[in-house]
Symmetry: C2
Subunit: 202 residues, 2 copies
Amino acid sequence: MAMAGTSTTTAEVETAAQRDRRSRIVQAALALASRGGYEDVQMREVAERSGVALGTLYRYFPSKVHLLVNAMAHDLERMSSRLQRRTIPGETATERVEWVLEKATRSLQKDPNLTEAMIRAMMAADASVAVEVAAVRSQMSGMITAAIRGDGPEGPDDAEYAGVLQDVWFARQIAWLGGRISSADVWRDIESAIRLVLREHA
Amino acid sequence: MAMAGTSTTTAEVETAAQRDRRSRIVQAALALASRGGYEDVQMREVAERSGVALGTLYRYFPSKVHLLVNAMAHDLERMSSRLQRRTIPGETATERVEWVLEKATRSLQKDPNLTEAMIRAMMAADASVAVEVAAVRSQMSGMITAAIRGDGPEGPDDAEYAGVLQDVWFARQIAWLGGRISSADVWRDIESAIRLVLREHA
DNA sequence: CGGCATACTAGAACAGGTTCTTGTTCCTGT
DNA sequence: ACAGGAACAAGAACCTGTTCTAGTATGCCG
């Protein structure tokens, strides 16, 4: 009885082959998402393309939503680390946040199908995906707060600003997916929200 | 050819029996949503409970999302017309908006399963549901702008404020559904967004 | 009344996400 | 090397939203 734990069980570590499978799965999902959006990411085809059995796919990602939210976190991570490697241009917080969010928006909307798949997955996420969703939000919050403070000190309300802006950002993306506003409106509305939230932040 | 139109075709009018069916369907959907949320609203059971064939259900509401968004619009309409019949209490725009949104939030969260079903449907809505979704948003915007102006004149930015607040409101509901924040946090975050957006509005 | 389009019923059929079953392969500790 | 369990493959099976089919009922126009 004693010493229950990490002996025979997998625990946390993955073999190289497993990292490989996981990566192939994510790549297949991204490719399919890019081709036809959320509904075109079919689990049977993801499995086939990544050369794993359907059951194995479900062992790695317990649902389609998990898979896509994971892929989104992965994408944002890349973008975020690219950002950290440079100074965000702009004199004011407003300018810097506009720069960052425009870059993020543009980068995502360059591939509308992929964006649609990711946003839709974020929206469909229930409590079982909380951890993955939190990772995505944390990435975005980090980018926004970094832009707010520029090279200055952190403000006490920065996190709150970032939260509201992120909410608006997602909501506008959904409105776009829902055909209620155009792609151009997305950016116009986000920009206006930035000015509204960050007014008086010279 | 001439005079195409409302002769034999159904056009817009519904017989009493049809209004009745439609109402029974919505009621059945609401009951099921209240029982177990979005996933418990199963189209076969809605059909059975409302005494119509599955095909007929789909004639009235072309998808589960249409059905639930419609139900939500119906609900908000009741709430909105109740609001219009009284004066919103509060000295400042902030107080009045807080009053209205808290009432709306509380009213919805009194039945969490029902709320979950409706919000999830709103999020899942694609372009084909744009009209119904627009109706819901318009109801909410109306309530918020009415609260902002109180008995005063309409401000030029009221619609924008209402839009941002509504985005935050929905986003916080989703965060709650996604298990990322608690029911109490929902209200705290919305309140803080109201103050942020409406600051300096005495 | 006789057509005739439309609405409706009952139920099968289809589609894609998810789960389950059976047999095989890989890894780990001894 | 080997026993035993975890991971995997292949595919059937299940569930629920959606669509389709065949037959029946209903209302309407001549």
